[in-house]
Symmetry: C2
Subunit: 386 residues, 2 copies
């Protein structure tokens, strides 16, 4: 595919703010207060790996009317100054006497007056990224009753991606497709699993990843015990099923999918498990039409991976994807989110393969008015043998 352009037009950020403000109005909010990386980046374009450092807090205030106000450490002024934001207020952090709270309270009072309500993202998949003592100080200054739920409005906005966002996710998927196609170069019988993980990350970078925040995987005879353990120095062996899963990033957007490989001839049970995973993915894909619910997808896929209702190993069978490795919504029976064009999802069925062993497959799709479309390269039922 042709490389997507980096960044976004300023107009896209402005439009996101306008959409947020429209919802804020219906909910009686005078401002939004954002503190996490994806929430701040969504409205500003502020993209940096510096969030890896927990020392500094960052605030974005979105008023009901007008442009956002960034209240940030001075170390970020140069980079934030390159975004579309014009109102950037800084202090030299860390400051042990007042680490930005004074500045933030002033900004909030300016846009909310003495009694306006301030929406804070407070639902699942987010948190308040500042010390609890700082948040309690904010409650004291402003009145705790004024810091209210945003009613998941930021989550709702982020759930439906723009074409520019989808193009970035697709770029990440293409990079991962190419890296997965080269796994036989870095996974040979006798290689320590930790070296396989390292080699795979190297392939992702060579194929164009900006960075590789997430690699998981496992290797084992006839399946694996879980999909979140780190790699150790134990070698991969003939007959192992090797699974590699990556959340690599291109221009701030993730892909998130995996591939299974058999080192040498797979057992019948493994062949069958992989077939069921591909069938479940296909069934999920077919169900992923505008108007369907996540619960619909769950039941369609679960009928394949867990026909006897034994309870599937991982719980959910996929999720949203975008600026974060996993996003709202979830493919679980409780999720009644209705699919809309522009949503990007992973389909991630999991099957049990004998006692204590599982296999997981994952693909990425986008919902369009014409139906779903694969962003990752949908695998055939035939398990790849290395």
């Amino acid at each position: 595919m042709t490389a997507a352009p980096r960044g976004f037009a300023d107009a896209e950020f402005a439009a996101r703010v306008v959409r947020a403000q429209a919802v804020m109005k219906t909910r009686g909010l005078s401002a939004l207060l954002l503190t996490t990386e994806p929430e701040i980046r969504y409205f500003t374009g502020f993209l940096t790996r510096f969030w890896e450092s927990p020392t500094r807090v960052w605030f974005l205030v979105i008023p009901l009317i007008g442009d956002p106000v960034a209240v940030i450490p001075s170390i970020g002024a140069h980079l934030m100054g390159q975004t579309w934001l014009r109102d950037i207020r800084t202090w030299q952090a860390p400051d042990y006497h007042d680490d930005g709270i004074g500045l933030l309270v002033d900004a909030l009072r300016e846009v909310c007056g003495a009694d306006g309500l301030i929406g804070v993202p407070d639902q699942m998949e987010t948190h308040v990224r500042m010390p609890l003592s700082g948040f309690r100080l904010l409650e004291q200054h402003l009145g705790a009753e004024r810091l209210v739920t945003d009613g998941a409005l930021v989550r709702q906005l982020r759930m439906v991606k723009s074409d520019a966002e989808i193009a970035k996710i697709e770029m990440a998927c293409c990079v991962a497709n190419r890296a997965f196609a080269r796994v036989s170069e870095i996974a040979r019988v006798g290689d320590p699993l930790a070296d396989v993980f390292r080699g795979f990350q190297r392939l992702c970078l060579e194929e164009g990843a900006d960075f590789v925040p997430y690699v998981a995987g496992a290797a084992g005879q006839g399946g694996y015990g879980d999909v979140i353990s780190p790699a150790g120095d134990e070698p991969v062996e003939a007959g192992d099923v090797l699974m590699l899963d990556t959340g690599l990033v291109w221009d701030g957007y993730y892909c998130d999918f995996d591939r299974n490989f058999s080192l040498g001839a797979p057992s019948d049970a493994v062949i069958d498990a992989h077939k069921r995973l591909i069938t479940a993915t296909h069934v999920g894909f077919e169900a992923a039409k505008v108007g369907a619910t996540m619960a619909d997808l769950f039941h369609a896929m679960n009928a394949v991976v867990d026909p006897h209702g034994a309870g599937s190993a991982g719980g959910r069978l996929g999720h949203g994807l975008g600026m974060q490795l996993t996003e709202w919504p979830s493919i679980i029976a409780q999720d009644y989110t209705v699919l809309e064009a522009g949503m990007v999802l992973t389909l991630e069925p999991c099957v049990a393969v004998g006692a204590g062993k599982i296999m997981v497959h994952e693909e990425n799709i986008v919902i369009t008015p014409q139906g779903p479309r694969f962003l990752s390269e949908f695998q055939s039922a035939m398990l790849e043998v290395i």
Copy 2:
């Protein structure tokens, strides 16, 4: 150096818990409630990159007496089961009706009774990693007045590293030393800066990094504008100063240091700036003796980088290092933390080089009873020319 062993002896985790409990007793705490990756890993050894997913919440309860209780999503049961913990309670997350709060409240009531105080890390450099709505629910169930500050006790414990922890940080430093020694392989005039970043991450992996969560850097004529911007597709040019900074990880522990390179002959101003950076690092190193304060280090280093008191660009001149890229304490004038043997620090002076341009140098050291010791390979005043 010889490879450090992976993991820790169970006894080390048990000793950490005992040390925490001794402080809890003096502060009248019946339990600690931990929610972030480093805090939970510090007491359990639970090491996974799965924290990259924001969907699931994880809880660890440390009672005043007895072993910790993990209250975690079932997807983590297999991995947590391989740590020293025996009391592991799980639920299938995400659960939209009760995402672990019920289980957590039960566990806290069990160890705290009806009125015991629960310490929560609430100071700088940490946050409560759960949805605010969940935390407020917890306050309702338990009584908000019972969720009190931990008085930074977890931060205090983590600040002084064990020999096993220091060995892991040193392993990470050695990997980065070897990667930096090969930078001329991946940085040539005309290469897009984004490719240089990718190439450097590849070198880190080839030299043994488990993963590379943080790479920053910059390139510019006579210095650079900041140290947190992402790399773009603009090529590095003859006469540029190229800076690369990495926080790579080995077995869950970071290094964090940088190197400057000149592409072709450097200007006199750049040569002079680099000399001052090395002098400031040396002065900081000499001052880093047991009993000195962080403020002492700041003033010693700042006299070199900012002799006329113009205000240095980044604010702080170094920080703690360990399970996170940046940790307590900070080398700033306000920080009176007294150095103890076992602390690991970065020395990170920053100098202005003409209008709007800076240069930054960084090394990693450990404090020992005999004085400081470099974990990274201390650079000479001579700037490396590529």
